[in-house]
């Protein structure tokens, strides 16, 4: 099997500068990595983690979400019917599906599929000023985690999945 590469953001290195979102927006109009401000004022990018067991893929009734050979979870606009329930958007534990209000109903990260085909890395990884975004083999993520990154990640999760609403 090919290397399964995905994104990992070390939120403890991130300064919330929006560069990832900016380059993504420049390339794709609707950014697939998006800044969010937590109640405590931390500004963080929300992004697709290309989960091994992707909830979005499981809930999509149209089979519009699949995984490519390198492990990227892809959304196929040809199969997507832009259903009103937007199950994918709700199922994503990382709030990484984005409603577009345009032709294609939702947008998500494809790890810069076109760029990868040319041997380039995802644009957000290349341009992050703080080296906070890594494009790495899924199995290597654990080695990048630190106490600080885990703490920061927990704060992000508490923001997107507040305890009071989830059991």
């Amino acid at each position: 099997m090919e290397e399964q590469k995905t994104l990992f953001i070390d939120y403890s290195k991130c300064i919330g500068c929006e560069t990832c979102e900016a380059v993504c927006r420049f390339l794709y109009d609707t950014p697939r990595i998006a800044m969010s401000r937590t109640i405590d004022g931390e500004i963080v990018p929300l992004y697709c983690q290309h989960c091994e067991k992707a909830a979005c893929q499981r809930v999509c009734k149209r089979g519009a979400i699949h995984r490519d050979a390198q492990g990227a979870v892809l959304h196929d606009p040809m199969k997507c019917r832009g259903c009103e329930t937007k199950d994918c958007l709700i199922a994503c534990p990382y709030a990484a599906f984005f409603a577009t209000c345009k032709g294609v109903a939702v947008a998500k990260c494809d790890l810069c599929k076109k760029r990868r085909a040319e041997g380039l890395h995802p644009a957000c990884v290349e341009m992050c000023p703080c080296d906070a975004i890594k494009f790495i083999d899924r199995t290597a993520i654990a080695s990048l985690k630190t106490e600080a990154s885990e703490e920061a990640f927990k704060r992000v999760m508490a923001h997107i999945r507040p305890k009071k609403f989830v059991d």
Binding site: I15, C17, E18, T19, C20, E21, A22, V23, R25, F26, D29, M35, R37, T38, I39, D40, G41, E42, I43, E118, G119, L120, H121, A123, V125, E126, M127, C128, P129, C130, D131, F135, R155
Partner: protein, 357 residues
């Protein structure tokens, strides 16, 4: 030559693809902050000959001379700059200020400029110019005593800390060791001043803000963090005057809760209440119209072939916004020269370029 990611590099040339043909066009970019570097990367990737001018001794703009180094790794930016030079052939001319009629020594960092060129030197020598000169003039306090010694703006305070490395006789570090420091404001630069003052050995630091923590632009997380470090957080205090004979000694504030007037001891007072844009040649370029989008060509100024991007256009923003603006201005510039080369300017679809704001 590898196209794939260079670890440890802020890759401004991230758009480079394998078969970009060299084209016989030259562009001058004024300012090597994130907007200028992003524009340089895009244009160089498309085969342009790119020259970047900056008045400071090192490219990077506020990423290098404003934001404290503990938050942004300087190496990654300088490697990105080197990559632009070596891989994409971008030429950097540092210590070079581009001027019109503006008086000298007005903003932080002006004294580094050893060389002064006029905008017309650039328009004469390049097919197009992009102004990416940022927003460096600090908003000053206007209360009584604001011009006493020991009163700084955030950039006056932060700039020398980063610039001292480039040893210049006109740069002196704020002497903070063992002193009482009061910082006014609650944005990210206020927090940066607090962190830097602490690193420099300040004895006692207070942050004074006219509203409450809930309204602080830097957010509660940061306020909590600096309080844990021992910084006093004084909210709902509006500065009214600075007292002192030849040097700041006290900050007088109005306490919005008790309605009382308070005198806070201070050796150093730093106002971090924002920056304002300092475009060279504001009027000639019609920047007000560019801001409103009232132009014939996206990001183009009133002068033909002269474009503008980043904080100089938007006012103080963020690295990402500046990068985006730089990329868009560069794309717009390339489209403009393409159509112009074929005398087809009229076909440019302004609205199509405008959709993604």
């Amino acid at each position: 030559m590898s196209l794939s990611s260079h670890t440890g590099v802020m890759n401004f040339g991230f758009l480079q693809t394998k078969n970009a043909p060299a084209i016989n066009r030259s562009v001058g970019i004024i300012g090597a902050g994130p907007s200028g570097l992003a524009a340089a990367g895009l244009l160089a990737s498309q085969g342009y000959e790119v020259h970047v001018y900056d008045k400071l001794p090192k490219p990077g703009g506020l990423m290098v001379f404003g934001i404290p180094s503990h938050r942004i790794p300087a190496d990654r930016i300088s490697r990105g700059v080197r990559d632009l030079e070596r891989r994409l052939g971008v030429t950097f001319r540092t210590n070079t200020k581009i001027c019109c009629s503006a008086p000298m020594h007005e903003e932080e960092g002006d004294h580094f400029a050893a060389d002064i060129l006029g905008l017309s030197d650039l328009t004469d020598n390049h097919d197009a110019v992009v102004i990416c000169s940022g927003s460096w003039k600090s908003r000053k306090l206007t209360i009584e005593g604001s011009d006493l010694a020991g009163v700084y703006s955030s950039l006056q305070f932060l700039f020398p800390i980063r610039a001292i490395k480039y040893a210049h006789s006109n740069v002196s570090m704020p002497d903070v060791k063992g002193k009482k420091v009061i910082v006014i404001g609650a944005g990210h630069s206020a927090v940066d001043v607090v962190d830097s003052a602490r690193t420099l050995g300040a004895e006692d630091i207070s942050l004074v803000y006219r509203r409450t923590v809930a309204e602080a632009p830097c957010g509660k997380f940061e306020i909590d963090r600096i309080q844990e470090m021992g910084v006093s957080w004084l909210e709902k205090r509006t500065p009214e005057a600075i007292l002192g004979s030849d040097h700041a000694e006290k900050l007088v504030v109005h306490n919005g809760v008790t309605g009382e007037r308070e005198e806070l001891d201070a050796d150093i007072i730093v106002s971090a209440i924002g920056e304002i844009p300092t475009p060279p040649f504001q009027k000639e370029l019609g920047l007000e119209n560019v801001r409103k989008g009232d132009v014939r060509w996206l990001n183009m100024t009133a002068m033909d072939n002269v474009f503008v991007a980043g904080d100089v256009l938007s006012g103080p923003s963020k690295i990402g916004k500046a990068v985006y603006s730089g990329l868009r201005a560069a794309r717009s510039l390339a489209n403009w020269l393409d159509l112009k080369a074929q005398s087809r300017e009229a076909e440019y679809n302004f609205d199509a370029d405008k959709i993604s704001r």
